[in-house]
Structure formats: C-alpha cells, structure tokens
C-alpha cells in the first residue's frame, strides 16, 4: 500500500517536472504571439506548490500509516522456519513411500508414547506404508471393545484393519496429567494445523540448541526451542542420532529421522495427495484433448464462412451485365 503510493508519487513528481519544462516552453512561444496572461514565474510557483502538496501528502500518509507497531517480541513470535526443498511438495511428485515407512517406524518407536494419531486407521496404512499382513499383525497387537454381547457386557477383541490406531492416553486430562500439564497434540493433522507445515515440524524437531542463548529465560519444566512461539516448549528434545534402527539400514541421524517422520505426518494429514496429483494430471490431459478437439471443430464449422468470397458487381449502364 505504502510502496504503491510512493510509486505513484514519484510518477507525479516526474510529471510535474516535465510539466514545468513544457509550460515554460509554451510560455516562451505564447509570449511571442503576445497573448500571455501567465508569467513563467507564476507557473513555476504553481508547479512547485503542487509538488510540495504531493510530497506533503506522502509525508502525512507515512506519519499516519507508515511505521507499524509490533506488539510481540521476536521471541514471542518464534523463529520462522526455513524452507526446505521437500520433494513431495513438488507438483508432480508423490510421497517417497520408503521414507513414509521409516517415518511410521519413528512415530511408533518415539512419538507414539505421548502423541496420538486418532484419525488414521490401520486400513489406510495398507498399500501405502505396510503390506496387508503387516498391518493386520499390527492391528492385532491392540485390543478394542466389541459390541455388547447377550448379557450386555462389552468384551475385548483383537484389532482389525478397520480400527484406528490407539491413543497413548485415555483422554486429554490424562494426557495433561502425565505430561506436567502440557497436552501433546494429536498428530493426525498436525502438518496442516501448524503455520509452516512440514518445515515447521522438521525445524521444531531438530532445532533444539544445546543450550539456550545467553539471557533467555526458560520456564520451569520447559525447554528452549527457537521455532516454538514463545520459545518455551514442554516437549524435550527426543530425536538423537541412532535412536532408531531402520530396517533398510539408512543411517538414523536425528535429521534423517525428523525428515522421515515429517513426511509421514504429512501423509497422515493428506493421505489423498498422491491420488490428488494424479487426478490433476488426468484433468490436464483431458482438458488439453478437449481444447484441441474444440479448435479443430471450430475450424470445421467456420470453414464455409472463412473461405467464402463476396463479389459485388455494380450494375452498368450498358445492356450486357456479366454475373459470376
């Protein structure tokens, strides 16, 4: 807004300057004709006054709207996460499903002890992260309530593919109680739910400095993380080098694990992404074909009009008028 008005004002100043030149020229020419009502001095004063008004309006605008007041300190805002070149965020790229598999392993072995994944059923893991048999075996590790039996009792049964991944705590209150009052958020949609998405999650997981910078105040039971708004986060650093043994023998450095689990969480938030991109490609294919067809049809339909020839032979005074 301000920049635009500045641009406009510079243009105004430039035009005013040109105006001065033009006016003085015209004054010189008009004086020779002898009909000069305006002296060059008065015109120059008018131009200078107009310029002063223009500059003054800019100054007044800047005085009113220019400086923005920041109510929050940078520490309260949190450090904005760096943009990383995620492959799966490119338009025609899918998730790296080997990375998703590693990320799910990291979630199960590290994150799942505190964070739930309430919106992800086992069936959605089939074909994207696990095979059918692996997912079934994983589901059967947990027990779920059955329908009430004949006596009205609710029994337990082993999990099925249609069940959802169980939460570590019974409810939010239990989760708060176990974590010193801080609620570990559900991770199903966390990539969509946080400003900065994947970059934020990755930066947060890997961004714990070895010690907070000098003078920074860290609350009791909190840890310093620059990317968390307010910089005091209840979650301590969890990812350390070699914490997980990957089955594909990828070196499990902290940043590798963070990258994998972030991509997995992105999948959990947007499991439809691969299909969505394929659908987009299909739409491009179909619309381009339809466009090409429409161009050819247009040519065909307009052919008689474009190729016609109109000839006008004026009637002549002579007897013999020829017609084509």
């Amino acid at each position: 807004m301000l920049a635009r008005s500045c641009l406009r004002s510079t243009r105004a100043i430039a035009s005013a300057r040109n105006g001065v030149v033009n006016i003085s020229k015209r004054a010189a020419s008009s004086s020779s004709s002898g009909a000069a009502a305006d002296s060059p001095l008065r015109m120059n004063i008018a131009a200078a006054a107009a310029t002063a008004v223009a500059a003054g309006s800019i100054a007044w605008y800047y005085h009113l709207y220019g400086p923005t007041a920041h109510a929050m300190t940078p520490a309260e805002e949190g450090l904005h996460p760096t943009k990383y070149p995620w492959v799966h965020e490119q338009w025609l790229k899918t998730f790296d499903h080997q990375a998703l598999r590693r990320g799910f392993q990291v979630y199960r072995e590290v994150c799942a002890s505190c964070h739930s994944l309430n919106r992800v059923p086992y069936r959605s893991l089939v074909g994207t992260i696990l095979t059918v048999d692996e997912a079934k075996a994983l589901a059967e590790e947990n027990e779920y309530d059955t329908e009430p039996n004949d006596e009205g009792e609710i029994e337990k049964r082993p999990g099925k593919l249609s069940d959802y991944i169980p939460a570590p705590y019974k409810n939010d209150e239990a989760a708060r109680f176990a974590n010193n009052g801080a609620l570990p958020p559900d991770l199903s949609l966390i990539v969509k739910a946080r400003h900065g998405g994947c970059n934020y999650i990755f930066s947060l997981l890997t961004g714990y400095p070895e010690e907070p910078p000098a003078g920074a105040s860290v609350g009791e039971g909190l840890n310093f993380n620059p990317y968390f708004p307010g910089t005091g986060i209840a979650m301590a650093r969890v990812l350390y080098d070699g914490l997980v043994d990957y089955e594909d023998e990828t070196p499990a450095s902290a940043s590798q694990m963070a990258k994998d689990v972030t991509e997995f969480l992105n999948w959990a938030a947007e499991p439809e992404m691969d299909d969505r991109k394929r659908m987009g490609m299909k739409i491009l294919v179909v619309t381009s074909v339809l466009f090409a067809v429409s161009v050819w049809v247009k040519r065909y339909k307009w052919a008689w009009l474009k190729s016609r020839k109109i000839v006008y032979d004026p009637p002549k005074a002579t007897k013999h008028t020829t017609r084509h």
Partner: protein, 137 residues
Amino acid sequence: MGIWDTITDLFEAATPWTTAEAEAPAQEEEQKEEVTETKEDEPEAEEATEEEEEEEEEEEEEEDEEEEIVDPKDKLEEECRESKQCFPAKHHFDECVDRVTNASGNGEGKEDCVEEFFHLAHCATQCAAPKLWSVLK
C-alpha cells in the same frame, strides 16, 4: 522365473497403466530362513566357538557404527555459522553474549540474546538447507 516372466515384467514396466502390488514376499523369506537354520545346525562344536568370536566382533563393529553417526545438519550448520555469509549475524550474537554475560554479573541482566540467536540460526539453516537435503535420503 522363466523367460516368459521376464518378458511380462518388461512389458508391465513399459506400460504405464499397470499397478504395483504391495505384497510381502513371504514365501521366499521363509525358505531362506529354513536354509540358514539347516546350515547352522550342520557345523560342529569346534566351529561354534569361532562363530561366537565373530559375532562379538560384529557387535563391536555395530556399536562403532552407531557411534559414528554424525548428524549432517549439525555439521553443515556449524560450517555455515563459520562461513562468510553468516559472519555479521555471528558477530552480533557473539558480541551480545559477551555483553549479557558481563552485565549479568553487575545485576543488570535484563537483555537477552534471543533475537541475535534467531538471526544466526535463520542464516545458518537457510545456508545449510539445500546441502542437507542432498545428503539425507
């Protein structure tokens, strides 16, 4: 795998409309396990001691490997922090740390270096991001 399987595989790889099935190769793995079990049963007690020694060595090697894992992010960001690109940010941060640590001794420790730390961290991560992604899988 007959020659026909090879041809169908090639054909399926070339055609874009085929779908990849995510099925576990369960049977082959089981067979391999059986084979290894039979092999392990065959050697006698004399060889068993040698195997134990080998296993111990392997364990040690594994431990070494685990110790060797160095987070490329830490390394790259450290290099970036020292680089010319981030010199102003690092200079300001170091200066602030000196000032604050000296001032806190005098009881005037109101200032903190969070903002300077942010600028330095921003510079270092920005510089390390593309390098890091080329290293990570």
